[in-house]
């Protein structure tokens, strides 16, 4: 599914820096994501990919650089060259168009699957309950959980919880979806069902930025792979180039480590394309 490279830029990040207690995690990230594009962020742990994702919807505040989403400067207002920090409520409204899925799902445990999906539209967009409920049921069906509206998160498997979390994010009709290692906390046999929902979402043209270690997903679904290490973008390009023919040593080292782990742990090849893993 070739996406027109002249589609409008949805996310633009320039020279983004971020430190935690003097430890610089992001050292000047530049990135552009066009509408409808699926970008996978790859990199070893500690490379800053999750932090960068969290900066996009301001769960972390950045120390330097700028991030625009759909033309809005995130977190600040530029008044004649002077930046003014936005009020919490303004920041909340900037986040409405950005859906996010977390590694640990973070469903609301005191609410049923249906109530989880309805919460955003009813509370934030002030949609009527009846309308929100109808849409929530549709979304639960879309992620394959049409039969589980009354289940509490504790009664669902990890894969089901993550799919409810995706439905919850979609209920806000986001123009951008962020996925922070959505399958890392799942048992191997549950990874496939979540990746399938994400693949369907990508096929529908959703703009997605995905932090993941699922190489098969990156290869099949991503329009572009960005490899990060040590807080900088090392290389980026189509998956066939970055994964198939990496130019940098750090990328090569990371990829071969990933392949070894995949082979060692015998990940089921449901989604992971193992064609270039040496046969054993």
């Amino acid at each position: 599914m070739a996406r027109p490279m002249d589609a409008p830029v949805l996310v633009r990040a320039i020279n983004v820096t971020k430190s935690f207690h003097g430890n610089q995690v992001l050292k000047g990230i530049d990135m552009e994501v066009r509408t409808g594009e699926v970008v996978v962020l790859l990199g070893p742990s500690g490379s800053g990919k999750t932090t960068f994702l969290r900066c996009i919807n301001q769960l972390e505040t950045i120390d330097g650089g700028r991030i625009w989403v759909d033309g809005d400067l995130m977190g600040y207002e530029d008044k004649g060259g002077v930046l003014h920090r936005l009020h919490d409520k303004k920041i909340a409204s900037q986040r409405r168009g950005i859906g996010m899925c977390f590694q640990r799902f973070n469903l609301f445990p005191h609410k049923t699957a249906l109530e989880n999906v309805m919460e955003g539209p009813v509370q934030v967009k002030k949609t009527s309950k009846a309308e929100a409920e109808q849409r929530a049921i549709e979304l639960l069906e879309q992620v394959g959980l049409g039969d589980k509206p009354a289940a509490y998160p504790a009664q669902l498997s990890g894969g089901q919880q993550q799919r409810v979390a995706i439905a919850r994010a979609l209920a806000m009709d986001p123009k951008l979806m962020l996925f922070d290692e959505p399958t890392s906390a799942l048992d191997p046999e549950l990874v496939g069902e979540v990746l399938k929902v994400m693949r369907d979402l990508a096929a529908k043209g959703m703009t997605m930025i995905v932090v993941t270690h699922e190489m098969g997903f990156a290869r099949e679904v991503a329009d572009r792979v960005v490899f990060m290490d040590g807080g900088v973008v090392v290389e980026e390009g189509p998956p066939s180039e970055v994964i198939g023919n990496p130019q940098h040593n750090r990328t090569r080292a990371f990829l071969s480590r990933m392949r070894q782990e995949e082979a060692a742990h015998g990940r089921p090849p449901t989604t992971v394309d193992l064609s270039d893993v040496p046969a054993e």
Binding site: N57, L59, D88, K89, A92, S93, R95, R96, I98, G99, M100, F102, R104, N106, L107, F108, P109, H110, K111, T112, E119, G120, Q123, V124, Y152, P153, A154, A165, R168, A169, M172
Partner: protein, 307 residues
């Protein structure tokens, strides 16, 4: 596989001898003897005077004291305590340093005051401020006074007592509520923020309902403690209260002990009812956290033997 394929050779249902617990039978015997002695003494010593105690329990001033001072006092003080306490807890966890320090100072002051001393002091406020003008500060001469409060009269009223107990309770509730809020996973507020919820919505819709699960049990504790602390209202010269009224009958009739028994019985009854209410609240706020463990009813046959 062939060696255990014959059904007759495969082990079936377990029918084992239970573990014996002779210690339990010894304990039952000891307890039975002690309880028997107590019942015997209670029935044979005429000074217990149960019938008089039952009579005291039904006296009009006692019932009035129970309803107003003890029950309304507890409910009122806990409403103030929980409401203000949650507010102070939220202030304490706020980004705003002014609110944080105010909340800290509040907790510091009211937790340091013994309730009896606090109530006695509040009861004497009329000495400092016989009359309080409500109006614009420093503008009395301009006649900008909206209302006048007679503190001397107020300070002997039940409302003032409830206020005193509530202010004190709020300091303790603030710490309980803070613990509850901190117990909620950080991912919850992040998920709410990611949906575009404001900090206030996040607190009201997501954090507090989950914090309640942790807040309710110690709040039940506080409520039961408050039932008993309403007897301190006497420090403010408030006499429509259970213990003062029963005691008054006791001293008037010289039957002190039965009067005390009447007070004890009422406190036991009120606290028992509250405990039932607490278990319902716990079930409500525990929804989504798996089924509550079913109450295993201890049958007498199970005391001697466990399977």
């Amino acid at each position: 596989m062939s060696s255990i394929s014959n059904d007759a050779d495969r082990p079936g249902a377990i029918d084992a001898r239970p573990v014996r617990h002779p210690g339990r039978w010894v304990a039952i015997a000891v307890i039975a003897v002690v309880v028997g002695m107590m019942v015997n003494s209670a029935m044979t010593n005429p000074r217990w005077n149960w019938s008089f105690a039952a009579e005291v329990m039904q006296q009009k001033p006692v019932l009035e004291g129970l309803l107003k001072g003890t029950i309304i006092g507890t409910v009122g003080a806990m409403i103030i305590g929980v409401g203000l306490g949650v507010l102070v807890a939220v202030m304490r966890l706020s980004d705003n340093p002014v609110l944080r320090y105010v909340a800290f100072a509040y907790t510091w002051f009211f937790r340091s005051m013994p309730r009896y001393v606090l109530l006695a002091t509040m009861g004497s406020l009329g000495y400092l401020y016989p009359v309080v003008d409500l109006g614009v500060p420093f503008a009395q001469s301009l006649g900008l006074t909206f209302a006048q409060l007679d503190v001397n009269a107020l300070s002997r009223g039940l409302m003032f007592g409830i206020l005193g107990l509530g202010l004190s309770e709020a300091a303790y509730m603030a710490e309980i509520a803070r613990a509850g809020i901190l117990s909620v996973d950080k991912g919850q507020s992040e998920a709410a923020q990611a949906l575009g919820m404001s900090p206030g919505q996040t607190m009201r819709r997501i954090i507090l309902p989950q914090a309640m699960r942790v807040i309710v049990p110690p709040t039940g504790n506080e409520t039961i403690a408050m039932v008993k602390d309403t007897s301190l209202l006497l420090a403010m010269s408030i006499t429509t209260e259970l213990f003062f009224q029963t005691q008054a009958i006791g001293t008037r009739t010289l039957k002190i002990m039965p009067a005390y028994v009447a007070a004890c019985a009422w406190y036991l009854i009120v606290c028992s009812v509250l405990m039932v209410g607490q278990s319902y609240l716990e079930k409500y706020f525990g929804r989504g956290f798996g089924p509550m463990p079913k109450k295993t009813k201890q049958k007498i046959t199970k005391i001697g033997a466990d399977h």
